[in-house]
C-alpha cells in the first residue's frame, strides 16, 4: 500500500474541482429544469439566438469554477496530536477537529459522477452529542484506503484488530445478492412507500410544470376530469391497476439501484458492506461497534422466508439517510444466525421470558385510534361511513390483540431480546454492556396496575420493555446497571 504522510496537510484530488462544478450544475438543473424547458419551448422568447444569454451563462460557469477551485485550494486535512483536523473556506475559514479515539466510522461513497471520475467520497463520523461528521468529497480510492488505515490505526480498539489481521487474512462471504435474490426482495418490498413516492414525485413535477405551462395543464386536467366523471368502472379499475403497477415498478427500480451487486463480508473482526448501482457505497463495521441487531419481516417477506437485518452503529445524531444505514436485505435464517454469532459472543439461553401486562393491548388499541375522526366526522353526513368505522375498529382490535400476543421480552446473562410488531414482525437483540442509560417510567394507569416501562438507551437506538411488572422492571434495571458498571469490555 502507498504510504502517505498524513501529518503534513493534504489536499483533495484536483478532480474534486470538476466534481463540485458537476454537482452544482446537477442541482441547478433539478431546481430549474421546468424553467429551462419553458425557455426552450416558448418560441416568442428567442433568447437562444441572443449572444447575451451565452455571456451570462459563461460568467455563471466561470464564477462557479473559481468558487470550486478556491474551495479546493483551501481545503486541507491532516492528523496532528491524535486529532484529525479539517481546514476549509477561503472567505470564512473553519477548522474542525475530531479526536481520533472518538472516530467511530470511516466510510466511502461513490455517486455516479464519482464513478466516472474514478474518485470516492470519504465520510468520517465521530461519537458523542457534538454531532460532528465530516466528508472529503473527492480522493482517489488508494488514498482513501490509506486515510482509512491512518485514522483507524490510531484509534485504540482497531489496533488489536489490525494485529490480528496480520495473522490471518480470512475473508468470509456472509451474503451476496444475485439478480434473482433482488427480484425476491423487490417483490417483498413495502409498495405503499413506492406509491407515496409516486404521488410526491408526481405532485412535484406537476407544480414545476404548472408554473410555466398553466393553460395547457388546465386544459389537460379538465379533459381528464371529464373523462373520469363519465367513465365506466372499467376505466377506474384500469387506473388503479396502473397506479399499483407503477408502485411495484418503483419498488423494483429502488431495489436494483440500492442493492445491485450487494456483498456483505466478514473479514476478521470487521463486516464489510458494498452495494449500489449508480451510487456505490462501502461501509466497514467492526463487530465491537455494533450496538444493536434488528431484524424485520413483513407478510410478503415472511412468505418468501426472507428477513431484513439492520445493524445499529454508534453515530453522531440520528442516522436517517439510507446511505449510512447498515441494512442487509434478503437474509435467510442461515445468514441471520451467522451475523448474530459474529456480533454476540454467545447465543441467547432460555433465559427469563417476560410477557407484558394486558394493559399493553389497550394501549396499542388506543394508539391506533388516531384515524378514527377521519371516519366518524364524515359519518354524520354519509351514514355508510359508520360501516367503515365498525370494520376499522374490528381490524385494529384484532391487530392490537395480535401485537400484544407477539410482544415478548427475553433476558439472560448477556443478551436481551425484544420481540414485537404486528403486521411487520420485528426482533431486536442487544448486549447488556452496550446500554448507556436506563429509565423507568410509570404513568398514572401503570401505577394503579403496578406495571412500568423500562427504556434502555443505547448509542443510536432506544429499546423499551413496555408494561412489565414493576418489581421485574426494577430488578432488570439493577441487574443491567450492575452489568454495565462491572463490564471490562468497551462499549465502542
Amino acid at each position: 500500500m502507498t504510504k502517505i504522510d498524513f501529518s503534513i496537510p493534504q489536499r483533495k484530488d484536483v478532480l474534486g474541482v470538476i466534481l463540485s462544478i458537476g454537482f452544482f450544475l446537477r442541482k441547478s438543473f433539478e431546481a430549474f429544469w421546468a424553467f429551462f424547458a419553458y425557455l426552450l419551448l416558448n418560441s416568442q422568447l428567442d433568447i437562444f439566438t441572443d449572444y447575451k444569454t451565452y455571456i451570462v451563462f459563461f460568467i455563471i460557469i466561470v464564477m462557479i469554477a473559481i468558487h470550486s477551485y478556491l474551495s479546493w485550494r483551501y481545503f486541507y486535512f491532516y492528523i496532528k496530536d491524535d486529532e484529525f483536523v479539517i481546514e476549509k473556506g477561503y472567505l470564512k475559514k473553519s477548522i474542525t477537529t475530531l479526536p481520533l479515539e472518538k472516530i467511530i466510522s470511516v466510510n466511502t461513497n461513490q455517486k455516479l459522477l464519482h464513478q466516472l471520475l474514478g474518485v470516492v467520497e470519504v465520510k468520517v463520523d465521530s461519537a458523542g452529542t457534538d454531532n460532528k461528521e465530516v466528508s472529503i468529497s473527492a480522493v482517489k480510492r488508494k488514498f482513501a484506503m490509506a486515510l482509512e488505515e491512518a485514522l483507524s490505526y490510531a484509534s485504540k480498539s482497531s489496533i488489536e484488530d489490525k494485529e490480528e489481521a496480520e495473522v490471518d487474512r480470512n475473508c468470509e462471504e456472509i451474503i451476496s445478492l444475485s439478480p434473482s435474490n433482488l427480484l425476491k426482495i423487490g417483490i417483498a418490498r413495502n409498495h405503499i412507500y413506492g406509491l407515496m413516492l409516486l404521488l410526491v414525485f408526481g405532485n412535484q413535477i406537476y407544480y414545476q410544470i404548472k408554473d410555466f405551462f398553466d393553460d395547457e395543464i388546465d386544459k389537460v386536467l379538465s379533459e381528464t376530469a371529464y373523462t373520469l366523471e363519465h367513465a365506466s368502472l372499467m376505466i377506474w379499475v384500469s387506473v388503479i391497476i396502473f397506479i399499483v403497477i407503477g408502485a411495484i415498478i418503483i419498488s423494483f427500480v429502488r431495489t436494483f439501484l440500492a442493492y445491485y451487486d450487494f456483498k456483505f463480508l466478514k473479514v476478521n473482526k470487521v463486516f464489510l458492506l458494498q452495494s449500489g448501482l449508480l451510487k456505490r457505497k462501502k461501509i466497514t463495521v467492526p463487530f465491537s461497534r455494533v450496538q444493536a441487531y434488528q431484524q424485520s419481516a413483513n407478510p410478503l417477506q415472511r412468505l418468501l422466508k426472507i428477513k431484513t437485518v439492520r445493524l445499529i452503529q454508534a453515530s453522531s445524531g440520528n442516522v436517517t439517510k439510507d446511505a449510512e444505514k447498515v441494512l442487509i436485505p434478503g437474509c435467510e435464517n442461515v445468514q441471520t444466525d451467522r451475523i448474530k454469532s459474529a456480533i454476540f459472543s454467545k447465543k441467547l439461553d432460555a433465559g427469563l421470558v417476560i410477557k407484558p401486562h394486558w394493559a399493553l393491548r389497550n394501549r396499542l388499541f388506543f394508539e391506533k385510534c388516531f384515524l378514527l375522526p377521519l371516519l366518524v366526522i364524515p359519518a354524520f353526513l354519509y351514514p355508510w361511513f359508520w360501516v367503515l368505522t365498525f370494520i376499522y375498529l374490528v381490524c385494529i382490535l384484532l391487530l392490537s390483540h395480535y401485537e400484544y400476543k407477539r410482544r415478548e421480552y427475553r433476558i439472560d446473562n448477556t443478551l436481551l431480546h425484544v420481540r414485537s410488531g404486528g403486521i411487520v414482525h420485528a426482533n431486536s437483540f442487544i448486549e447488556h454492556y452496550k446500554v448507556q442509560a436506563v429509565r423507568i417510567s410509570q404513568s398514572y394507569f401503570q401505577r394503579r396496575r403496578n406495571t412500568a416501562s423500562l427504556h434502555l438507551g443505547l448509542a443510536g437506538v432506544e429499546v423499551s420493555l413496555s408494561y412489565i411488572p414493576y418489581e421485574t422492571a426494577v430488578k432488570i434495571k439493577d441487574f443491567l446497571l450492575h452489568e454495565v458498571i462491572n463490564t471490562k469490555k468497551d462499549w465502542i
Binding site: 439461553d349 433465559g351 427469563l352 429509565r439 410509570q442 438507551g457
Partner: protein, 175 residues
C-alpha cells in the same frame, strides 16, 4: 413462574438494589423559578389574546370565552404540576451511577452509569442567575433521550457535582 431457577440466577442477591436509594430533593425555590417562567409565558399569552379580542372585530365572543376557559384550565394544571410534582423530583449519586427522578402524573427515574458519561455542562438562564439556581446537563453517547439534566440546584452545587462526576469518570478510565 416455571423458570424461577433462572430468575434467581440472573438477578442474584448481591446486586445493589436501587429501591434503597435516598434521593436528595431539589431546592424549594425551584418551584418559584418554574412559577415565574410559566407566569411570563401565560402573561404574554393573556395580553396577546385580550389585545386580539379588542382590536380585531371579527373574533366572536364565544371563541374568546372558550379560549379563556381553556386558558384557566391549563394554567391550573401547570401550576398544580409545579407544586404537586415537586416532591417527586430529586437526584441521587451512588458510587458508580447518577439517578434523577421527575414527573407528576407520569413519573420516571433515569439512571446513567458514570462510565457512560461523555461530557457535562453547567447552565444558567438569566432568571436562574438572579435566583442562584443552575442546571447540570449530563450527556451520554447517542440519542438525546439518554441525556440527563439535574435542575433546581445551586450554581455551586452544580459545579461541585460536575467536578465530582468528572473525577469519577477519570477514575473509571484508569481501570
Amino acid at each position: 413462574m416455571d423458570n424461577d431457577a433462572t430468575y434467581e440466577q440472573i438477578f442474584s442477591e448481591s446486586i445493589p438494589k436501587s429501591e434503597t436509594i435516598i434521593f436528595e430533593s431539589l431546592l424549594p425555590k425551584y418551584r418559584k423559578l418554574k412559577a415565574i417562567e410559566w407566569g411570563i409565558f401565560f402573561g404574554i399569552l393573556l395580553i396577546g389574546a385580550i389585545a386580539a379580542y379588542i382590536f380585531i372585530d371579527e373574533i366572536p365572543s364565544w371563541i374568546f370565552i372558550l379560549f379563556i376557559s381553556l386558558y384557566v384550565l391549563t394554567l391550573n394544571f401547570v401550576y398544580l404540576s409545579i407544586y404537586r410534582g415537586f416532591r417527586h423530583k430529586g437526584f441521587a449519586i451512588r458510587e458508580k451511577d447518577v439517578h434523577y427522578k421527575t414527573g407528576w402524573i407520569t413519573r420516571s427515574i433515569t439512571t446513567v452509569p458514570m462510565s457512560r458519561i461523555q461530557h457535562m455542562k453547567v447552565q444558567q438562564s438569566a432568571i436562574e442567575k438572579l435566583m442562584n439556581l443552575a442546571k447540570l446537563n449530563i450527556y451520554t453517547a447517542g440519542d438525546s433521550s439518554n441525556d440527563m439534566t439535574i435542575r433546581g440546584i445551586s450554581f455551586e452545587k452544580a459545579q461541585q457535582l460536575k467536578a465530582l462526576l468528572s473525577g469519577k469518570i477519570e477514575e473509571n478510565d484508569q481501570d
